[in-house]
């Protein structure tokens, strides 16, 4: 008796399997979507990190953009140059210049350099602390609660003595930290060289007001601008022209850096200091 039951069950299952497979086979043909082979090939070449560092929503959207809209092939920060060459090969175009685009934290003050710090007992997040006064005197600079650290998937930004510091050996330039910072002091910058000069301050106030809140803030004295072409002034602040900077300008940049009375200009990037 039991053999018959098993037999009926087995035959029923087999029959269903055959019918289902026919339906699936038919559906596969009927609903077939044409996918450009190139898109698949590009997607294969991309690392699949889905970090959004290229400016598109994940790798597959970027792959479609490369094939359909002739988007630049060197946008993937994770894959870097190797990936760009591979994608360029698939698309049959030139790689173009691939300049690494990395975040720069425009604040250089650690705890001991900041004035007006208080015992803050609120929510330990920059976004929350940014809504109240009195955490520290400077309303422009790094708060140091690490909203940027918590969004970094590559362990490439850390808080050192209350200051966010990028680890350029690990950073792939996805830009997540830029979006996380409520004070907007992190910006993406093209690194034409391994290390570039940068003004490590964001305080737009006049010199006197800056000195009341920080011992390391840019006071807009123009000392660096006078001795070096790399620096220009913008709203009470010195700005380093990173697009124009090349290794041969290093001496000029160092001159400007040494003139700075507040020590707020520094080299950043791989092998800096």
């Amino acid at each position: 008796m039991i053999e018959i039951t098993i037999g009926i069950a087995a035959v029923t299952m087999l029959g269903m399997a055959v019918i289902m497979s026919y339906i699936l086979g038919w559906a596969n043909k009927k609903f077939h979507v044409e996918v450009d082979e190139k898109v698949e090939a590009v997607l294969e070449a991309l690392p699949g990190a889905n970090c959004g560092g290229c400016g598109y929503l994940g790798c597959s959207e970027y792959a479609v953009a490369v094939v359909a809209d002739n988007a630049p092939v060197n946008k993937c920060p994770v894959g870097g140059e190797g990936c760009a060459i591979e994608v360029a090969g698939i698309m049959g175009v030139d790689v173009g210049d691939s300049v690494p685009n990395r975040p720069v934290v425009h604040c250089g003050a650690r705890f001991e350099e900041r004035k007006g710090r208080t015992e803050y007992k609120g929510e330990m997040r920059c976004a929350a602390a940014n809504l109240v006064a009195g955490v520290q005197g400077c309303t422009f600079g790094c708060l140091g609660f690490g909203d940027c650290v918590s969004v970094c998937q590559y362990d490439a930004i850390h808080i050192e003595d209350g200051l966010a510091v990028v680890d350029y050996d690990k950073c792939i330039g996805c830009g997540a930290c830029v979006k996380a910072c409520p004070r907007l002091i992190i910006s993406m910058t093209d690194f034409h060289e391994d290390k570039i000069p940068s003004v490590l301050c964001s305080n737009l106030d006049k010199g006197k007001d800056v000195t009341t809140v920080c011992t390391k803030g840019c006071i807009g004295c123009k000392a660096c601008v006078k001795v070096s072409d790399i620096f220009t002034m913008d709203k009470n602040m010195a700005v380093a022209d990173t697009d124009a900077y090349r290794a041969e300008n290093e001496e000029s940049a160092v001159e400007g850096l040494e003139k700075c009375p507040k020590d707020c200009i520094g080299f950043i990037g791989k092998n800096a200091d």
Binding site: G116, A128, L131, V132, A133, G134, T139
Partner: protein, 456 residues
């Protein structure tokens, strides 16, 4: 009037659902008569002291200004003019960080030349004769214009431009004017002292504002823990249409939606203003300023500030020029005591802790509360145990813990569904939370997230 034995004369129950009963601690400064502060050496006037568009400076550095001269003008409709409380010389433009964290440009004026004695200004306020019979001579439009010209904003703390509130409107009929003298915020006593010492100015202002909006009924609302203020107002309102409504002492009774519920038994719709149910509301100090602006043509240059708490040597109520630094007020009150721990602009529930004593007093500064270590102590944050005390406390019937967690885990969509923007940050939830979760700060963060998400 429940507490005093007579009959309630208003439709509401004198209270609202939920809310809390924190110790009011008004004893520190309630007994101190308002003292007039001598003119300071300089004033710093931030260009945005109100809700709305910032002022544009109308004076140049090195220019001499007289007492009460306009130094900043608001171009937009929702904006307020700024007047110098002292005669003096305009210095270079500067920047200040206000207690609420806003970093703003400001006009600095160094005192110089002929001054108006601030004692006279305070005498003007405490005057008992405001020639009430002349009030019907003012056209409603004229009242609103004079208030605009005097730069008056809500002096209760939010600093919303008053001329906008009392603008006669065809679209929105106002039948009741509520004058808010609840002062439910613990510690603060500036409104109490104004009600006690300048009740006639409040009544004159209320009649003027009531005329501007064509209100049929005018109530001055006072909590029942201020019997002396009630007495003063009752005698000042005799032979006028203004009534005194005594409401129960409960926090946040002074919030506009809660007060409308308590006095008129009306529900202000979600996201709406009291004008949606035909009510205009303004603070008692604002009404006194309105009376002075319209009848004596004086701009808003001074205000009453309470300096109070366990951390100040001599708690006082002071009549001070707007733009004076907080540090000068603290010095005038004998300085901080040894165990002073935290300085707050405003009261402990809704105020902002700050550390820079050069922060200027603005039009919205109702007090400086200095807490001691014992008063400011707060436990370490622990996990939410879903006890629901914040839900029971929330006067807006929200779920604070849900809103706070939506903010912490960055879910603006969830926060919006739970009506995060209905929260007016009274702090009741944070006060009762046994887990010491910083609910209000998180909700403020959440509001910023919702605003950012809406922009996208």
């Amino acid at each position: 009037m429940g507490f005093f034995g007579s009959k309630e004369e208003f439709p509401g129950k004198g209270s609202f659902p939920h809310g809390i009963h924190p110790p009011d601690n008004k004893f520190y400064s309630a007994g101190a008569e308002v003292e007039v502060l001598p003119n300071p050496g300089k004033v710093v006037l931030p260009l945005l002291q109100h809700i709305g568009a910032p002022c544009e400076p109308v004076v140049k550095p090195k220019q001499m200004v007289t007492c009460g001269e306009m130094v900043g003008k608001g171009q937009a409709f929702v904006s307020a003019a700024l007047h110098s409380p002292v005669a003096g010389k305009v210095k270079k433009n500067t920047v200040v960080t206000l207690a609420n964290g806003r970093h703003l440009p400001a006009i600095e004026i160094k005192t110089d030349g002929d001054q108006v004695d601030p004692e006279d200004l305070w005498k003007e306020m405490t005057d008992t004769d405001w020639s009430l019979s002349t009030i019907p001579d003012y056209a409603p439009d004229e009242i609103s214009k004079l208030i605009h010209a005097a730069g008056i904003v809500g002096l209760g703390g939010a600093a919303f431009p008053t001329h906008v509130k009392v603008m006669p409107s065809d679209k929105q009929l106002i039948d009741t004017l509520l004058v808010n003298g609840c002062e439910c915020e613990p510690y603060l006593t500036c409104d109490y002292r104004i009600m006690k010492e300048a009740p006639h100015a409040i009544v004159a202002g209320a009649l003027l504002a009531g005329r501007a909006v064509s209100a049929k009924e005018i109530f001055i609302c006072v909590e029942d823990n201020k019997p002396e203020a009630i007495e003063a107002l009752e005698s000042a309102t005799q032979n006028t249409v203004v009534q005194v409504a005594v409401v129960k002492t409960k926090y946040p009774q002074g919030s506009e939606k809660q007060l409308v519920k308590a006095v008129l038994d009306l529900e202000v719709p979600l996201g709406g203003l009291p004008s949606a149910v035909g009510v205009a509301m303004s603070n008692v100090g604002t009404m006194a300023a309105v009376a002075r602006a319209v009848i004596k043509k004086g701009p808003l240059t001074h205000r009453v500030v309470s300096v109070t708490g366990g951390g100040i040597a001599n708690p006082k109520n002071l009549f001070v020029p707007i733009g004076i630094t907080m540090g000068e007020l603290i010095d005038y009150c004998g300085g901080l005591t040894r165990d002073a721990a935290r300085i707050i602009a405003g009261g402990p529930m809704m105020g902002f802790a700050f550390s820079d004593l050069n922060t200027p007093v603005t039009k919205g500064t109702s007090g400086i509360t200095i807490l001691t270590h014992a008063e400011a102590a707060r436990g370490e944050e622990t996990s939410c145990v879903r006890c629901g005390r914040c839900v029971d406390a929330c006067p807006m019937n929200l779920v604070p813990t849900k809103l706070a967690m939506a903010a912490r885990y960055q879910n603006p969509e969830l926060a919006r569904q739970y009506n995060i923007n209905a929260c007016f940050e009274c702090g009741s939830c944070t006060y009762v939370c046994p887990a010491s979760i910083k609910l209000v700060q998180l909700i403020r963060t959440g509001k910023a997230q919702v605003a950012a998400a809406m922009k996208k």
